[in-house]
């Protein structure tokens, strides 16, 4: 390399160094400004998060907590410092959520939008929550973590519970006239029977006194002839051969009547008992029997009730109170449609048949009637809210819509129907066992 070339290259290198130094300065300034911008954005996002009512929880790919807002800390009942870095399974121990979270971690979509009950670690309080979860992935599809948005729905659940109870009491109120009648009939014959038994008992009292006098005289060694005649005369008057079996029958009948009343009262208690917040294992057959009993006055004038309840039916995890309401709605609907058939001129009683059966992973309830059937044009609207074909004051169009919501949305079961015009309709409820 010649000297002039060396000098030129040296000069150029010096210049290059100056340019590079300037570039480094510019880059540093640029980075500082970007860092500031990022900090402000983070603060802004933190402010948004802190004002949110919903709890926001963010995990890393190992499902450890990396970010959360004050609503989350409050919901989880711990401080920020305690929560950061903790594993999701420690602070949010909902098995179903953890299962889906792990699925998301392993590469599947892993998404949740569901209601659960969450037991808070700090005070063991059970809190109903609505959980929305999505997994976060980078541009290459690698799992980066999970974002949870969790709503505390205690207040809503409380209101729902109150509404449900109000609906149930409303149903009881509507059924009460019928139930009073159902109770009154046995009470009347119990009263008549008791009057008869008292009368007979009062008649027996002088006879028993004469028997006692007879016993005393006998001990003394001389029974007056008049006493024997008196006893014979009293026995003849009381007609004991007739009276004893009648008293026995009257007592038997009264006991049966008392059983009927007792059953109605027990059924009412079972039907109107406030439901639990969580599903409970329930004897579906017993629930059906209770509901059929309390609604008897709704159907007995138009229909007979056949219960074909499978013995040894497994207990079903369900909200029993809400399910009672569904069965009541179906029974009342069945009675109404059978009544329509009678009004159209058909003679004799119709039939409502309620059958239960166990499937592999579910229990099926079929409520069949011999009513009008559902016309083709109405079939797609049956479960729509406010849809009714009943006359003014007879239906609100809420019964089947609520039944659908209860069975499908709340129990993850299915509600369908089979129908034939002028033959009848069968509603089929399927409730999962898990």
């Amino acid at each position: 390399m010649s000297r002039p070339t060396f000098d030129k290259q040296l000069e150029r290198e010096k210049k290059r160094n100056e340019i590079l130094a300037k570039m480094v300065e510019d880059k540093t300034r640029e980075l500082f400004l970007e860092h500031e911008e990022l900090r402000k954005t983070n603060e802004y996002l933190d402010r948004i998060l802190s004002t949110m009512v919903a709890a926001v929880i963010v995990t890393d790919s190992d499902l450890n907590i990396v970010k959360l807002n004050s609503a989350a800390a409050s919901l989880l009942g711990q401080t920020f410092d305690d929560l950061y870095g903790q594993s999701l399974s420690q602070i949010f121990p909902i098995p179903e959520v953890l299962k889906i979270a792990t699925v998301g971690q392993n590469g599947d979509i892993g998404q949740i939008q569901e209601e659960y009950i969450f037991q808070r670690k700090s005070d063991e309080r059970r809190i109903p929550v609505y959980v929305s979860m999505v997994s976060v992935r980078d541009n290459n599809g690698n799992f980066e973590g999970l974002i949870f948005v969790v709503f505390d729905i205690s207040a809503r659940k409380e209101l729902e519970q109150q509404l449900l109870q109000a609906q149930k009491l409303q149903a009881i109120g509507q059924l009460s006239a019928g139930i009073a009648h159902e109770i009154n009939t046995p009470m009347q014959f119990i009263r008549d029977n008791l009057s008869f038994v008292r009368r007979e008992y009062e008649g027996l009292q002088p006879l028993v006194a004469s028997y006692r006098e007879f016993k005393e005289k006998y001990k003394e060694g001389s029974v007056p002839h008049e006493l024997i005649n008196k006893i014979s005369e009293m026995e003849g008057r009381l007609d004991l051969d007739y009276s004893f079996p009648e008293v026995q029958a009257a007592l038997g009948q009264s006991l049966e009547g008392a059983d009927v009343v007792s059953k109605i009262v027990r059924s009412m208690k079972e039907f109107s008992h406030p439901g639990a917040e969580e599903k409970q294992f329930t004897d579906i057959n017993k629930a059906i029997e209770s509901t059929a009993t309390v609604s008897r006055n709704e159907w007995k004038y138009v229909s007979e009730m056949k219960l074909k309840l499978a013995p040894a039916l497994p207990l079903v995890p369900c909200f029993a109170g809400e399910l009672n309401q569904v069965i009541l709605n179906l029974i009342v609907n069945a009675a109404h449609t059978i009544s329509d058939v009678k009004n159209a001129g058909k003679v004799g009683l119709g039939t409502i048949t309620i059958a239960t059966s166990a499937k592999e992973e579910s229990v099926e309830i079929r409520v069949a009637d011999t009513g009008m059937g559902i016309p083709e044009r109405f079939r797609s609207k049956v479960f729509d809210p406010f849809f009714t074909t009943k006359g003014v004051g007879k239906g609100t169009g809420q019964g089947l819509a609520l039944a659908y919501m209860t069975v499908v949305d709340k129990h993850k079961g299915s509600l369908s129907f089979e129908t034939q015009e002028n033959e009848g309709t069968t509603f089929i409820i399927e409730l999962p066992l898990k």
Partner: protein
């Protein structure tokens, strides 16, 4: 175009023809260059400056333009590898490496140099020992790409033969390089 390429070209001329020759080339075009100060690696400069220097160089050293650009491409490959070894060393075959150019290497280049405009590559994979690389860049440095491919072949010690077909996609001129390995 990034200053890195200008500097590599200077290095290429100096290595093959000496520093004095490069000074003559640079002197000859300096007045016509848009960029008056020296080129630095992170800087971005007009493509026209590069083309002026290259055409001045080919005249000076008496090598046809396409041969010079091809040779420059081959020269660049090991230099570029030494700057980003982590993107090359974990490949044992040129095909898997070439398939990462667009989606990984050029993405990383853009992260480091925000204003970089590397070419677009799309791929067809017709057989295990074949690969079609479709090059799309307004610079149309087809000879440079071929030089790089020769450099890749040498680096991985796997023979690569290729044909190139210039075609048009959506009105834009693209070049398909059909590669056969082994």
């Amino acid at each position: 175009m990034k200053g890195e390429i200008f500097n590599l070209f200077e290095e290429f001329i100096v290595k093959n023809w000496g520093a004095d020759v490069f000074e003559d080339i640079y002197e000859a075009v300096h007045a016509n260059l848009h960029t008056k100060e020296p080129f630095v690696g992170p800087g971005t400069y007009p493509d026209s400056d590069f083309l002026l220097i290259v055409s001045s160089a080919t005249q000076k050293v008496g090598v046809p333009l396409h041969e010079a650009v091809h040779a420059f491409g081959k020269f660049c490959l090991p230099k570029l590898v030494s700057k980003m070894p982590q993107y090359v060393e974990n490949h044992s075959h040129p095909k898997t490496f070439l398939l990462t150019i667009h989606d990984i290497i050029h993405v990383e280049v853009r992260k480091v140099f925000k204003d970089a405009t590397p070419p677009d590559f799309t791929y067809r994979d017709p057989a295990p020992n074949k690969l079609v690389m479709i090059y799309n860049s307004k610079r149309k440095l087809y000879d440079f790409v071929e030089g790089l491919l020769d450099g890749v072949s040498e680096y991985f010690e796997v023979p690569i033969t290729y044909t190139r077909t210039v075609t048009s996609t959506n009105g834009a001129e693209v070049c398909e390089f059909e590669l056969t390995f082994g």
